[in-house]
Subunit: 143 residues, 4 copies
């Protein structure tokens, strides 16, 4: 497993913000977690509400928890909500199961971290995350 570098993490965030600006999204907040789910970098744009770090982290952490984009968790939540309740419980309340959490895969398809974006609609959050990961030269896995 290659650890995602700070330089790459910052590229992801910058590119995610750029995608947000290009598409006219609301102020975004972007977190990059390493493969162990620990915070590598985070930025909250001016005008974003106060709990955006926790929400962004919840999407990224949920993705890493199960090895799939948070969109997959959202689908699970709709078909078997008790599973998500169990995931939330055993994670210690660290998961937000809506789109916007996207895995970062390297050239060998290994998971080297995850991005969580929040601030616009969940679908647009995911779009910004995907754009950020691609701009940094990695492969996004949105589930």
């Amino acid at each position: 497993m290659t650890d995602i570098s700070l330089a790459k993490a910052l590229k992801i965030i910058t590119a995610a913000f750029a995608a947000g600006k290009e598409h006219g999204f609301k102020p975004l907040s972007v977190v990059v977690l390493d493969a162990g789910g620990h915070v590598k970098a985070f930025q909250r744009q001016d005008g974003a509400s106060m709990m955006r770090f926790e929400i962004a982290s919840g999407k990224a952490y949920g993705a890493l928890a199960v090895g799939a984009g948070s969109r997959w968790l959202n689908a699970q939540a709709e078909t078997r909500p008790h599973f998500l309740e169990g995931l939330s419980a055993v994670s210690g309340g660290r998961i937000v199961a809506v789109p916007g959490g996207v895995l970062i895969r390297d050239r060998k398809n290994a998971i080297i971290g995850a991005v969580g974006v929040t601030g616009d609609t969940s679908d647009n959050d995911e779009r910004a995350a995907v754009a950020g990961i691609e701009a940094a030269g990695f492969t996004p896995d949105a589930g």
Copy 2:
């Protein structure tokens, strides 16, 4: 962003209680949080039940967490309940997603705090919060 002063916070509470009295509401409890979600002032009317501080705070905190009145959270809870469960979890269990939590906006439209009211029906709680904020010279944002 202007910090809401204690004097203004007390005006909000007094006016919310006055609205409650005018409309014959049950005993109300009103909290004012600053823009960071920290308690500025609170009052629980005689005859109100014991957990009203927590309920009022949960409505106001939820509003600040996402930058929308708690009525918006209530609507989200009805369409995608798992999202609210995630928000609740990552907030550390600090959110009550029913109407009665209203953002306080100043003349520049900046969020300077939030009011949470509980004690009557949620819709009436929200009416009292709106009345309080307007009486203090601010703009209520109920979502």
Copy 3:
């Protein structure tokens, strides 16, 4: 047990602030809990730091928990710290064991609530709490 009324709780807070102003204390924060330890009223003066509600409540809650002013808890903490750790644990982390938490006793010597003050030195916090309770016509019990 007579429940402390909101009117009396507000008298306590106002008088505590007046004592602070008279003695040149830093901005104070004052909470009044009812006899069950539930928040009745709270006010944080402008310029007070963000966690003052929690600290004031911790002093008042600790006093009610053991039926003695928080000064008694402070003394206990110095002679047998493991007792305070146990109290903190079983309370769910709700106690701050330094002076400033003072019980409110009525004419029959019954405990009808507690005041918690924070913002200046602990000794001065306690002075303000005592002044507030006396101004409201009750008997302060600082331990």
Copy 4:
């Protein structure tokens, strides 16, 4: 109170890292919290250990909680450890009471946020935080 902008927060982090590089510090991690204690920006240098976000945040949050640099909390912990235990408890376990948490004051001396640095010795962490705040044009308050 002025909200600290993302641009300024990133200046602080960059300058803190530069100070670390100039003095040969170990890999640093730097968080900037807004005045309400919510995460604005964070970066963990390559080679830093996994829990640095939590440690940096704990120093900055502690400073904001009481309105003093975390060095003051460190001194309190040495003279009355039970006070720090109480603070930790009522904060929900969010405080790390060693130097490295420094308040950010603007031209009007208002607190607009806090910086938390971790990675080298606590004294050096504090030096980096101070350098970062000064480079961004604000006044550091280390307690």
